[in-house]
């Protein structure tokens, strides 16, 4: 399982046109929809932890890797998801214009990025089906989106408040 985790997450990293959050639908597809490694609810929890921890959101890979194959799995998934992009970025620093501004790479990105947006929509719908089990949860999602949109509230704060609300409202 561990090599498979590495390869799958390597692919996720290399297809993440648009940044870390853009890769979340790819993660959801490979870990939930295609393989059944984790449940949709666990995936939602993993993303929440990804937002709540410092650094990149894609650290979600560490959590999923651990759920699938323990410590080694966590290592494989983490290495996989960051290795490609880190090497590409260093390569870009080495030969700035020639590489990152390559016409065909950019053309690929121009087609891949909208596809990623569409896939993020798919992830959103399938998460909503498993998460919004009552109107209170729908309201919380709306408030979270509105807060993030209108203010620059730290996601960690939004998530902590939501966790508290979840306990209070669930009783």
């Amino acid at each position: 399982m561990t090599p498979l985790l590495f390869w799958r997450f390597l692919l996720v990293g290399l297809l993440a046109f648009g940044g870390g959050q853009a890769a979340l639908p790819l993660v959801e597809r490979i870990a939930v929809a295609d393989t059944g490694w984790i449940t949709p609810r666990t995936f939602a929890d993993a993303v929440a932890f990804g937002y709540a921890t410092p650094g990149p959101v894609l650290i979600t890979a560490t959590f999923i890797g651990y759920q699938v194959a323990g410590l080694l799995g966590a290592l494989a998934a983490t290495l996989g998801v960051f290795l490609g992009p880190v090497l590409l970025a260093a390569l870009a620093a080495q030969q700035v214009q020639r590489f990152a501004q390559n016409r065909w790479l950019r053309a690929f990105g121009r087609g891949a990025a909208p596809a990623v947006v569409g896939l993020l929509g798919v992830t959103l719908v399938s998460l909503a089906q498993h998460t919004l089990t009552g109107w209170t949860y729908a309201a919380m999602a709306l408030v979270a989106a509105a807060l993030g949109f209108a203010t620059k509230t730290n996601p960690l704060l939004i998530l902590s408040a939501a966790a508290l609300m979840g306990i209070l409202l669930g009783r």
């Binding site: 046109f17 979340l24 295609d34 937002y51 970025a89 620093a93 016409r103 121009r110 798919v122 998460t131």
Partner: protein
């Protein structure tokens, strides 16, 4: 392109370890920390170079924050700088996540924890709506990209085509469009 500048590998690693520990709240928060530490305090790299790194790495696939770190790491200490910087930046988050994963296995089923997690999951949905909006604005600029996004949704949702294929297919369509433009221009 530019030769690496003077800062020790150890200091570079320590700096990004600190930034990786306190960089809560996404890309903007991490960039602010990077600017303050490397441009303002240590003065080893300029704000313009950081912005340049952001501009270029945004064109590449992958987690942008880590990529800016790798880019700057290379500028400062070459390949070892890129690898040490990126590793140091990711390590605190990975350690925190491992701790969470272990605790999750033990406590996720407790009623109150499960309720809290359900609340968090709802908020995550809201944050993802925001992510769609933020990604859509720069990337869906014309009719072609709007159709591509719509098609990706339809194919992904109803036909269950693997996501990686859909992204690659989108990219190939982007290349095909660029190619036909080139031929049309001739």
């Amino acid at each position: 392109m530019t030769p690496p500048r003077e800062t020790s590998l150890l200091r570079l690693g320590w700096t990004f370890l600190k930034i990786g520990t306190f960089g809560f709240g996404g890309l903007a928060a991490n960039l602010a920390l990077i600017e303050r530490e490397l441009a303002d305090r240590q003065r080893v790299i300029s704000r313009e170079e950081i912005l340049e790194g952001l501009t270029y790495t945004k064109l590449l696939p992958g987690s942008t924050g880590v990529q800016v770190v790798s880019y700057l790491g290379w500028r400062l200490r070459g390949w070892p700088g890129a690898l040490v910087g990126a590793t140091a930046f990711v390590t605190p988050a990975a350690v925190a996540m491992l701790a969470i994963a272990v605790l999750y296995g033990r406590f996720a089923r407790l009623p109150s924890v499960s309720l809290a997690l359900h609340g968090m999951a709802a908020a995550v949905l809201g944050l993802l709506v925001l992510a769609v909006w933020r990604l859509a604005r720069p990337n869906i600029a014309d009719r072609v990209s709007a159709v591509l996004a719509g098609a990706a949704f339809v194919v992904g949702y109803w036909m269950h085509l693997p996501a990686a294929w859909i992204v690659v297919l989108g990219g190939l369509i982007g290349i095909a469009i660029e190619w036909s433009r080139e031929r049309g221009a001739r």
